[in-house]
């Protein structure tokens, strides 16, 4: 399989996506809705590249196009640059203060204020939070609504009962629109200023601080393919746990030492 990327032959394995090949060979392709750990959704379209397989040349998204045979790929033609510029400008009307978009705008010469939006929707609709929630969390966040009204939300816009408070969505959001707040013994997941779920927190039996959400692990383990749920019922926080362990260890060693000393003393 011979893959030519921007005029240079690059190393690639059959079945790899264009983005994978590009990353491995140090070729830059912009992405907004792609992380390697999740199945690509090809929603943002910014990674669109020109692909020539045989005689046919067409536009494909690099994040999810699997290379199966000889191909020539152009990742940065004037046409692509122009369209990426428009794409960034259009996205900026939803989310003008995003650092990610600012970076891309600089690269492609986009004017972030070309299409002034009515409101800052704080979201570039990459859908990463929804996808990671489906894979890792409790499938709480989803893309709701259709067309222009599409948005990230919980079922029926209500507080979700299935959230496990894992905060994967917070970690993954490229525009930092999701945050968690641990207050009053509860973890609140707040998506664009709106509360999405409340998960009770565990209270440490040692020191009394809250240290992590109470979660129902069964569905998570089921998704991971584990039949037996491992014991996850820590009642003490990591700090206390560390302290307890240190104490136990010390006790054991000190005891040992004491005995040894006592024995030695008796002999002497």
């Amino acid at each position: 399989m011979k893959i030519i990327m921007d005029g240079k032959e690059v190393a690639a394995e059959r079945g790899q996506t264009i983005v994978e090949v590009a990353r491995r060979n140090g070729v830059y392709i912009p992405t907004l809705c792609h992380v390697p750990a999740l199945e690509p959704a090809a929603m943002c379209r910014v990674c669109t590249v020109e692909l020539a397989e045989g005689r046919r040349s067409r536009l494909v998204t690099a994040c999810n196009y699997p290379l199966r045979g000889d191909a020539e790929i152009h990742t940065d033609t004037p046409m692509l640059r122009q369209n990426r510029k428009v794409l960034i400008e259009l996205l900026a009307s939803r989310c003008p203060n995003s650092e990610v978009l600012k970076g891309l705008a600089e690269r492609y010469g986009a004017d972030l204020n070309r299409f002034p939006g009515e409101e800052d929707r704080q979201c570039i609709m990459c859908g990463l939070c929804a996808r990671v929630c489906e894979r890792v969390g409790g499938n709480v966040l989803a893309l709701c609504g259709r067309g222009v009204e599409i948005r990230v939300d919980t079922s029926f816009g209500r507080l979700s009962p299935t959230c496990i408070g894992c905060a994967s969505c917070v970690q993954i959001c490229p525009v930092n629109a999701i945050r968690i707040e641990d207050v009053d013994g509860e973890r609140r997941v707040i998506v664009r200023g709106k509360e999405a779920s409340r998960v009770p927190l565990r209270k440490c039996t040692g020191c009394g601080t809250h240290f992590g959400p109470v979660i129902d692990l069964d569905p998570v383990m089921e998704r991971a393919g584990e039949s037996r749920v491992p014991a996850f019922n820590a009642s003490v926080c990591p700090a206390c746990s560390r302290r307890h362990l240190a104490k136990r260890l010390a006790e054991r060693h000190f005891e040992q030492h004491e005995v040894e000393r006592r024995d030695a003393g008796e002999e002497g």
Partner: protein
Amino acid sequence: MATASSTAPDLAWTKKISSPQELAPYRRALIESMDPDAPRIRVCCGTGCKAVGSLEVLEAMKTAVAAAGADVHVMPEVKRTGCHGFCSRGPLLTLEPQGLFYQRVKPEDAVEIVQKTVVAGEVIQRFLYKPPGAKEAIAKVGDIPFFAKQTKLVLKRVGRIDPFDIRDAIAEGAYEGLAKVLAGMTPQQVIEEIKISRLRGRGGAGFPTGIKWESCAGQPGRHYVICNGDEGDPGAFMDASVMEGDPHAVLEGMAIAAYAMGSDRGFLYVRMEYPLAVQTLAAAIRQAEDLGLMGQNIMGTDFSFRTSISTGAGAFVCGESSALMSSLEGKVGRPRAKYIRSTEKGFRDSPSNLNNVETYANVPGIILRGGQWYTTYGTERSAGTKVFSLTGNVHNVGLVEVPMGTSLREIVFGIGGGIPNKKQLKAVQTGGPSGGCIPIPGKFIDINVGFGKLAEIGSMMGSGGMIVMDENTCMVEVSRYFINFLVEESCGQCTPCREGLTRMREILTRITGGEGREGDIELLEEIGQFTNSFSLCGLGTSAANPVLSTIRYFREEYEAHIRGKKCPAGVCKPLYYYEIDPEKCTGCGVCRKRCPAEAIEGEKKKPHTIHQELCIKCMECYRNCKFDSIRIM
């Protein structure tokens, strides 16, 4: 005597057909049981005629026939049928054996029709169709240009049979193709026959059906055969009419496809807005299963094919193949971004064959008469016929089936009867919201309609919607309308379609509202190019077509809106006003009486004037002036 009704007929006297050879004698027996001399009254109960009260006409006809029972020699049969096609003239009925065509019939006319026409054999003039401009009314179906100029392959039984009675369909030849296949064709032979016919997908993309079937058949795993009945284009009703008028053609086509691909499970994805189609299909499946023509061990062979109906919840995007399959799986109907054909991994990640209603309806005929026969219709690249729904500013609004390669002139003027109100033809919009507007005068009137030709000039075949537009159509408004439709129907997951369309709508609304700015046309082109090249699915990659094609052919109209602040067609309200030409005005007073805003003033027999500050631009005066004295300024 079998009478047609909306409920399933009693099939208790039938037994299952136990071998493919048994269908022909069964058909003969059915035909013999029908009296050839019996008058047949076919009342169109398609959606269009139903809307103007054909069900009442049907009931009235039945009562009238029953009341006249003693007077007639042979008891006439009143039949409820699918769409006859001539929707603008409904409610319609045809009378056999004379072959009469009655239009705009009302329930209270039933007794008269039965007494005069059926009993006494006399033709009632006022129900006859008179073509625009003609002096003589036409009595017979076959003499009406609208019908005479059509070639009906797909629609051959639509409008003739009662869709709720399978025996009617069998008497007209339904399931013969399937019997032929089961009696001695291998799956390879079936596919070969379809390939010879050069049948291409009728849903819009025009992919060769035979090749699709072959690639699907070659895949391992359980195969699914899916029928796309999610016809959502504004102004298109071809698939609806086929499903409503001849559901058995679709089922038979699907069964043959299933046999060719080794499938035992099929789905009909029908949009919920077609309740009648769902009813007819459900009844058809039940009756065909009762007769052993569908379901387990079809016609006593080892071949089984079960099929069921799924209704879409009204999303246009669900007509896109991957979105349709998502929806069928019970997920949100959004297109999947996967570079893999659904014939490899489609529904439930299994090889799935998705075809349009019309494509399946073409299959039985091809099998029965051979692929070679099919290629005698149409052109080299586009074989066969195509059903178009002809709508808009044309006399004969309705459903027409013509061979591929028929010229637009023939369709619009020959069959469509031309443009009403002495207006000029301006453009024809084909291919639904993803298609384009073809400017007609002088330029493309003689273009042959086929897959390749329409794409060349910036439009597309689409599923067959054809909207005729006269000189009073504003092309900017047309593109705004379609973009607005698409904004509401976009699934919203990919950036170009969601954001690009929203912006285009904003710009177009601005232009039609009289606030267009210099540079808006270029901006539209820029966003349009972007949307068309970067979008995810078929809806997005063609979404800008209405805008781009109208800019391409009607740029001066956009410019008039933006620079001159004028709407030449007189559609965009802020951009025109009406004026009465004092030279032409005879002072007849029609406009003054018609004006709902009382904005027109004038003495009798003297030129009238319009008070612009009162005028609401409802067009009432313009439309009703017999002297052409009202001008759009």
